[in-house]
Symmetry: C2
Subunit: 359 residues, 2 copies
């Protein structure tokens, strides 16, 4: 795991990030291909996109923005393979709703409809399926979306892992809203909606039976309401991203890379709960790389930053929102952290999988 | 498997179909829950829909019809777990496109955009993933749809089965088109677009290493063009269905049940290729219950039936279209076949899984 959290201090002259290995040197799928880091991006860029023959959208958006029948739609999909199915603060059912709802919300869309595809493993207790489905239904009601179409497949025992869920979602993008990393400019203020690293640590604690003094609950939550509150201040937000797999580090690197600006983060300004910090110290993890399921990071024009921050803090899911950095002209495409001691370090794109199957 | 193909001759006085067992008597998921028959429907009706708290759409539509931003949209999802990944006439990539495209087309929609979620098993060769992705891309181009958003997850070796794919799709429903089983009325003519049973037999032949004299290729194909040709004759088609899992028998039973009309099928009129008939005889299957992936069944007002049939036969995917029966007032909700010998038999809803993992 060390490669994903490695610190390369003082490497500011290394302005580009180099693809660690072309796909042809990697003959088989490894866990890292699903980690939301560089290997995932590589698989999309070098294998899926050429095969699909579509536009090069790698790493730029969580949801596609489409025109159909005169409507401006956001369309997104996510599969969920989290282990265990139930964890402190949520379940695969909650994740399946909030993950897709949040991907839609990050494009500024109002999430409206979800599809839901279950792949069940033969032998799973129907009572478990029911608990998951009920959690999913409750999460959908909380998020204000409707599950309108679905599908169920069953695979033989030993060929699946209990329950996998795919949700896809459609939402409506209000006119005037245009959230894309390409809109980021130097001077933009970087705001995170609350403490980071909670979801990943919550999963690890229950999976490994670890105790960190207090039970850490996942932050899994639907963010469309928070986004709406932010857009009510100004439609001119530049980009939003929910830092899930790969954490804040992956989200900021994707934005830096796609926008061609540099990003500077004030390390001390990043809110990390004490319990998460302790757990990360024990596990050898960097909270910047740990997944969140109820947080967003926003790049906001400087003139609107105070008002947007105030609006976020007035929302239940943004009470601990904080300015953590800014977009800069220096080191385009690269994320740099100013450490508490006055030094700097490069915040790399994670390579592969730090915590497998956390969503 | 016998329960899925059982013939109950002369049971016309049995007008209702009885749910074989409430879910509470079935503690665990079995293969039949994914078979597209009665057990699948039961799981949706008694577990998923109550949990989701949505409208009761069980068994009535393949795609949801929605209003969003003034557009009339169709939205559908399907997961694909077929074994093997490649088979005569197609692959999981082709199925993943055509399955969802066809679900959209059955609502009369013009399919436009697909999402694509891969669940990969650690250790799968990337060359295999690439072949599948290329097949998927080629199928999308053939079907005239664009893959616009995606997701990749990886599960540990032994916790998946190579490659699972979910696709969801969005299409635009033209104004005036309203395809629903509830629109079926006695007198409607039942038309099938071509020979049935081909896909399921193609999968079985390669999976079991069986030889049936000639290689049987899957009929996997996108049907939106054929539907467009039919709608060009009249917008007043009543319902379309692609008879996939559970075959023609399941599709007709779903329509009969949701429409509250009876359906009579002339057994000799149902086109069954000799190779499929032979294979079914060897395997103890009924072609009416075997899956298709490039066929549709249409309920058409009698006054339009000749013209719709002619339009279908003029299309490459409908050349062997045939009238196979009609909707009737008698035995509402029940499908009955007139046999070649002048007798009648009830065509039951299949219970569970006849051929597991054929899509």
């Amino acid at each position: 795991m060390s490669e994903t959290t490695e610190v390369r201090a003082g490497a500011l002259d290394v302005l580009g990030w180099t693809c660690p290995a072309p796909l042809r040197n990697q003959p088989r799928v490894v866990m890292g291909h699903g980690g939301g880091g560089a290997m995932s991006a590589e698989l999309v860029e070098h294998l899926f996109l050429p095969a699909f023959g579509g536009p090069d959208l790698a790493g730029t958006v969580d949801a596609a923005a489409l025109e159909l029948g005169g409507a401006r739609l956001a369309f997104s999909t996510d599969s969920f393979v989290v282990r265990p199915l139930f964890f402190p603060g949520g379940s695969i059912g909650d994740l399946a709703v909030n993950g897709t709802v949040n991907d839609l919300a990050m494009s500024g869309a109002r999430p409206a409809y979800l599809s839901c595809g279950f792949i069940l493993e033969e032998g799973v207790e129907l009572a478990v399926v029911q608990r998951v489905a009920e959690a999913l239904g409750a999460a959908a009601r909380t998020a204000g979306v409707e599950v309108v179409t679905g599908d169920t497949k069953v695979v033989e025992a030993g060929h699946g892992d209990g329950i996998f869920i795919n949700t896809s979602g459609i939402g409506l993008i209000p006119h005037g809203v245009d959230l894309r990393p390409q809109r980021v400019v130097p001077g933009d203020v970087v705001i995170v909606s609350g403490p980071v690293g909670v979801h990943g640590v919550a999963i690890m604690s229950v999976r490994e039976g670890l105790e960190f003094g207090v039970e850490i609950e996942s932050d899994c939550a639907p963010l469309a309401g928070l986004v709406e509150a932010m857009l009510a201040v100004t439609e001119d937000l530049h980009v939003l991203r929910d830092p899930t797999r790969g954490g804040l580090a992956a989200a900021l690197n994707e934005i830096a890379s796609a926008s061609g600006t540099g990003v500077v983060v004030q390390e001390r300004a990043v809110p990390v709960p004490a319990a998460v910090a302790n757990a990360c110290a024990v596990l050898g993890l960097d909270p910047m790389y740990v997944a969140n399921e109820g947080k967003l990071v926003a790049f906001v024009p400087r003139e609107h930053a105070d008002a947007v921050l105030a609006a976020m803090r007035a929302h239940p899911l943004g009470r601990e929102a904080a300015v953590i950095g800014e977009a800069v002209e220096a080191h385009p495409g690269m994320v740099v952290a100013r450490t508490g001691l006055g030094g700097t370090r490069v915040v790399d794109m994670p390579l592969g999988e730090q915590l497998p199957r956390i969503c």
